[in-house]
Amino acid sequence: MCRLGCVKLTRPLERVLRVLLADPTAEHYGYDLMKATRLPSGTLYPMLARLQQEGLVHSEWEEQRTDAAGRPPRKYYRLTADGARVARLELAQASTPPTSTRRVAARTAQETPGSAL
């Protein structure tokens, strides 16, 4: 399966992952993420769609609230357990110099055989 490894970790993607990883259990709606990452919607939503397709991000509709706020239910995004693991790995690799990157990748590959792809 194609994971984050097969696409380049671009600066916008890195920002999205950092925000999502700040609290992996937190749920974010689109505008919330746009403000936190300072990305336009035209960059954010295709990225979310791709992450979701690869099973790294999970989305869920908000419960229909009964109080009369008049607001339609939103869709919330959060990292999956798999997504949190991959994001941590990717960000660690991005922030370390290239010589040690290979060692990190090799070590994680040993720890979780077959799932490092």
């Binding site: 505008y31 336009p40 939503y45 939103r74």
Partner: protein, 199 residues
């Protein structure tokens, strides 16, 4: 009508227009998701002026338009990929296909050899008459008719459209009909993969 409500309406209309690019099965959900973001943008108190909030909502809609364009492009590309791979394999394994083709060619060779033998034996005799030739022509026409009826009644055929197979059967009779029966025909026992029905 307040300015915020009018901005909301315009933005909703823009989002609906952008969502028309998406395939029907995801369109409604995506449209609902993006429309639900609008109240948060239009009532965002960190932006002081309502005019700037409206601008922000319009920028959001522009981004949605870009998003739907990108999503529909990637969907189209992936569906083109599956379609072309189905064209190549036609839902059967290549080895299977070669076997069918070989059987078809053997049948064709036998038919042609038999026809030539019968013709030479019957027309070189002392009392040559046109009957054997007519009988063979009738057989070939009957075989073509059988193939055409089979194509017309089949729910689906492999590799090519129905009209293309029909053309091949007519132009290259009886070889076209044999090729159709050996690789183009979908047997009743082996249904086509469901993805192919989308065509």
């Amino acid at each position: 009508m307040s300015a915020a409500a009018r901005s909301q309406q315009i933005a909703e209309w823009l989002i609906r227009a952008a969502c028309r690019r998406l395939p029907a099965d995801v369109r409604a959900e995506r449209c609902r998701e993006w429309t639900a973001e609008l109240p948060a943008i239009l009532s965002d108190q960190s932006v002081r002026l309502s005019f700037l909030r409206t601008l922000r909502a319009l920028a959001f809609c522009a981004g949605i338009s870009k998003t739907t364009r990108r999503l529909s492009r990637s969907w189209r590309a992936s569906s083109r990929r599956t379609r072309s791979s189905q064209w190549r394999t036609g839902g059967i394994r290549p080895s299977d296909m070669m076997a069918r083709l070989a059987v078809g060619l053997v049948v064709w060779a036998v038919v042609v050899a038999g026809t030539i033998t019968v013709l030479t034996v019957l027309t070189t005799g002392p009392h040559a008459d046109p009957w054997p030739l007519l009988a063979i022509v009738a057989l070939v026409i009957g075989f073509d008719a059988f193939c055409l009826v089979d194509i017309a009644r089949a729910a689906d055929v492999r590799y090519l459209r129905k009209w293309a197979w029909a053309l091949i059967c007519l132009a290259q009779s009886p070889l076209g009909g044999i090729v159709y029966l050996s690789i183009g025909r979908v047997g009743p026992s082996r249904p086509m993969p469901p993805a192919d029905a989308q065509r």
